[in-house]
Symmetry: C2
Subunit: 407 residues, 2 copies
C-alpha cells in the first residue's frame, strides 16, 4: 500500500452520517432475528429540514433570490465573503459571544461549518504537528488531522460520569499540551453527546492554552440551541489570547440551512488570513448567492429560536424516556444541540451489524459511535431534530431491536 493509499484508508466514509445509501443491504454471516418492525422511516444521521419537522429559518429562500438578483456583486465576492454580509455577521456574533470581531480582519465566510473547520485547521496545523482532539468528538476531526499529515493526541471526555460539566480530562489535556501539542480542537456543545463545557472547564482550557502557547479551535455549531437556561461560555471571550483562538459556527443545524452550505470562522487575524488563502485554492468562496442568506442569521423573528428550542427539548425528553426503559442502557441528557449518544447494553451483534439491523429492521438510520471515538464500540448517535411522533416511534423500534439482540 502506498503512503497515499494508507492515508485515504484512514479517511473512510462508509459509516459516516449520510453515506448509508451507498451500503448494500447484505449482512453476510449475520443471522437477523424476527421480521421488520413497521413504521415511518427516520434518518437520525442528520436533522430533518422538511416542513413536517424543522424547516429552514424564515426568509432564507427570499434572501437567496434577492442575492441572485443582485448579480455579479453577489456571485463574485472576496474569497473571505462579501463585506456587507461579513459586517452583519461580525456584529451579531460579537453580541452573541461577547468578543469584539473585526469584520475586515477576523472573520471568513465558508462553505458550511465543515469548510470552516477545514480552513481553520489547515491554517493552524502543519505536517508532523501534534493536535489534541477530544474522544468522543465530531467524526471529521481526526480525519482532518490525518489529511494534514499531523498526529492525533486524544483527550478523554468522561461525559457519562458527571453532571454540570462536560467531563474533559484536564490533567490529560495538560499533559498533551506539555508534550508539544500546538493545536487543540473541540466541539462545544460536544458532538455527539450534547454536553456543554462548564465555565470552569472553559477557563481551564483557556489558561492552559495561554500557558503552553496552544492554538484552540472551538466548534460551537450548536451553541444557539441551549436547553432550560443552560449556561454557556464562549472560549473566545474567556481570557484566551486573541491570537490563539478561532471559533467556528454556522446556520446548518439550529436554523436548518444546511442546503445553502454556509459557515463562518472568526478569531485570530493571522489564521483567518491563512484560511482565506486556503479557501482560494479549495473552493474559492462560500456560494455567492447563498452568502446573502446570512443577512437573516441571528435576525430571525421574535420568539422563533425559543420555540424551536422548546420543540427540540420536548423531543429530547420523550426520546430519553423511551431509551431509559432499556435495561443496561446509559445515556446522559444533552444540555444543548440535537444529539443523543446512548451507550447500549452488551449485544449479540457487533456495533456496525447492529446499526445495519436498525436500518433493515427498524427503518431507522443511526450513526455508529466509532465515528466519534475508536472506543465507542457500544454507542450510537441519534440526531433528534426530527418529526416528533416519527422520532419517538423509531426510538421505540430501536429499543425493541436492542431487546432482540441483547446478550
Amino acid at each position: 500500500m502506498s503512503a497515499l493509499e494508507a492515508k485515504f484508508a484512514k479517511l473512510g466514509t462508509d459509516h459516516a452520517p449520510g453515506q448509508e445509501v451507498r451500503q448494500d443491504d447484505a449482512l453476510p454471516g449475520v443471522a437477523l432475528r424476527g421480521g421488520p418492525l413497521p413504521g415511518v422511516a427516520v434518518d437520525f444521521s442528520h436533522g430533518d429540514v422538511n416542513d413536517t419537522a424543522f424547516p429552514p429559518a424564515p426568509g432564507a429562500l427570499e434572501a437567496f433570490i434577492a442575492g441572485e438578483h443582485r448579480g455579479g456583486a453577489q456571485a463574485y465576492t472576496e474569497y473571505r465573503g462579501g463585506a456587507q454580509v461579513r459586517e452583519h455577521v461580525a456584529r451579531k456574533l460579537a453580541a452573541f459571544t461577547g468578543r469584539p470581531i473585526s469584520a475586515a480582519e477576523e472573520l471568513i465566510i465558508t462553505p458550511g461549518t465543515q469548510g470552516a473547520l477545514f480552513l481553520a485547521l489547515g491554517a493552524a496545523v502543519n505536517a508532523g504537528d501534534r493536535v489534541a482532539i477530544v474522544r468522543p468528538d465530531y467524526f471529521a476531526n481526526r480525519k482532518l488531522v490525518v489529511f494534514l499529515g499531523a498526529e492525533v493526541v486524544p483527550v478523554r471526555l468522561d461525559y457519562l460520569a458527571c453532571t454540570g460539566k462536560a467531563g474533559l480530562d484536564l490533567a490529560q489535556l495538560k499533559d498533551a499540551f506539555k508534550s508539544g501539542v500546538r493545536t487543540f480542537l473541540f466541539s462545544n456543545p460536544n458532538n455527539p453527546t450534547g454536553v456543554v463545557y462548564s465555565p470552569q472547564e472553559i477557563t481551564a482550557i483557556a489558561e492552559l492554552a495561554n500557558r503552553y502557547g496552544v492554538t484552540v479551535i472551538a466548534d460551537e455549531l450548536y451553541s444557539r440551541l441551549l436547553y432550560s437556561d443552560q449556561t454557556y461560555t464562549h472560549i473566545c471571550a474567556a481570557g484566551i489570547a486573541p491570537d490563539k483562538v478561532v471559533t467556528i459556527l454556522g446556520p446548518s443545524k439550529t436554523e436548518s440551512l444546511s442546503g445553502y452550505r454556509l459557515g463562518v470562522a472568526f478569531g485570530a487575524a493571522h489564521l483567518i488570513e491563512r484560511a482565506e488563502k486556503l479557501q482560494a485554492i479549495v473552493s474559492l468562496r462560500a456560494p455567492g448567492y447563498s452568502q446573502a442568506v446570512l443577512s437573516t442569521w441571528f435576525d430571525e423573528p421574535e420568539g422563533w429560536l425559543a420555540e424551536r428550542t422548546a420543540k427540540h427539548q420536548t423531543i429530547r425528553d420523550d426520546l430519553l424516556a423511551v431509551l431509559r426503559t432499556v435495561a443496561g442502557l446509559s445515556v446522559r441528557m444533552p444540555e444543548a444541540g440535537s444529539y443523543l449518544f446512548p451507550r447500549l447494553p452488551a449485544l449479540t451483534l457487533a456495533l456496525h451489524d447492529f446499526v445495519r439491523a436498525v436500518r433493515l429492521q427498524a427503518n431507522a438510520v443511526v450513526t455508529p459511535g466509532t465515528e466519534f471515538s475508536p472506543d465507542a464500540t457500544d454507542s450510537i448517535r441519534l440526531n433528534f431534530s426530527q418529526n416528533h411522533q416519527a422520532a419517538v416511534q423509531a426510538a421505540q423500534r430501536i429499543a425493541q431491536l436492542i431487546e432482540r439482540y441483547r446478550q
Copy 2:
C-alpha cells in the same frame, strides 16, 4: 519563519483575480502620469454575470427554488452529490466527451470547479511528490501543489510561437515524466491564453502518461466555448488508461453560474472515491439546493450556446483589434474561452504597478501575468466575458495607458 508561515507565504492572494478590493490605493514611489481616463468600470478579473453582459443560463434560479422545495432529500445528498443529478450530468458529459461515465463510481459534484481541482489533486498527490504543471496556467495550480507539500515541475507552453496547436513543450514534458513526475495537471483550453491543445498534442500527452504511469488531471472548464469550428480533443477519450485521468468541468463560466458554486470531477473510480473522502472533511458536499441547478446544465434552450459563443467571439475580435493597434504588444487570438493574455511592450512601470495604474486611471481591473507564470512579468489577463461596449472602451483606455507608460 516557521514551516507553516513559509508555506502560506507561497499562497499569496493579494494579486489573485477578484481580490483587488483588498488593495489600498496608494502607489508609493510611483509617479502616475496624466489624469484618470473617464469611462464605465470594467472588472476584467472575472466574467460579468449581470443582465447587461452574460447573465446565468436560463432556468437556473427556478431549478434552485425547486430544489429548496424538495427539502431534506436535496439538502442532504451523499457527499459525492445526489444520485439523480449525477446520472443526468454523467449522461450529458459522456455525450460531450465521447467517454462513457458511471454516475455511481466515476463522478463527483463539487463546490465549484475550484473544488473539483482541489479534490482531484488531493486524491492523486502526496507530500513529497513531483507534479508537472504548465507555464502559464491557472493561478491556483501551483498553489495547490505547494499546499499538498509536493514539488512543482514546470513545463513550458510556447503559445505565442505557434498556431494550430497550444505549443506545449512535449520534450520537456517527457523529461519531467522520466524524472519521476507522478501527476500532470493542465487546463485545456489553456487559462490564461485561450489556446486549445491540438489532437496531436493531446494524443502525445496520453501516450506519455500511459508509458510513464502518470495521472493526468485535465481542467476543461472552458471547453464548451469554442470559436469558429475549433476542433477539441477530450483527453479522457484519447486513448489514456481510464485509471489515469480525471477531468474537471463546471457551469461557472460559459453558463455564468458561478454564484451557485458547482463543478464536477469525473474519471478514474479510485480517485473519485478518494475525492469523496476528501470532500467529506473539506466541505461535506456541493451546496445541496445548488446541485439541483445542474439538471439544467447541457440542457439549455436550442441555440443558446451558439448565440452566447457568437457574442463572445465578437467581443474577442473587437478587443483584439484595439490591442493590435499598440506597437510592440503581442497577443495570440484565443480559440476558446473568454481570456486574452497580451504581452505588453516594455513599460516604465513594473507589472504590478501598471496593473494598479490601470485600476486607478483606466477604471479597469486586469490580472497580472505573474499569477499564471513567474516568467509572465510583461503580460496581463483580461476576461472579456463583459458588456461589449464597456469592454471595448476599457480596452481603449488600457491601450492609452500603455502609451503613457511606454519606455
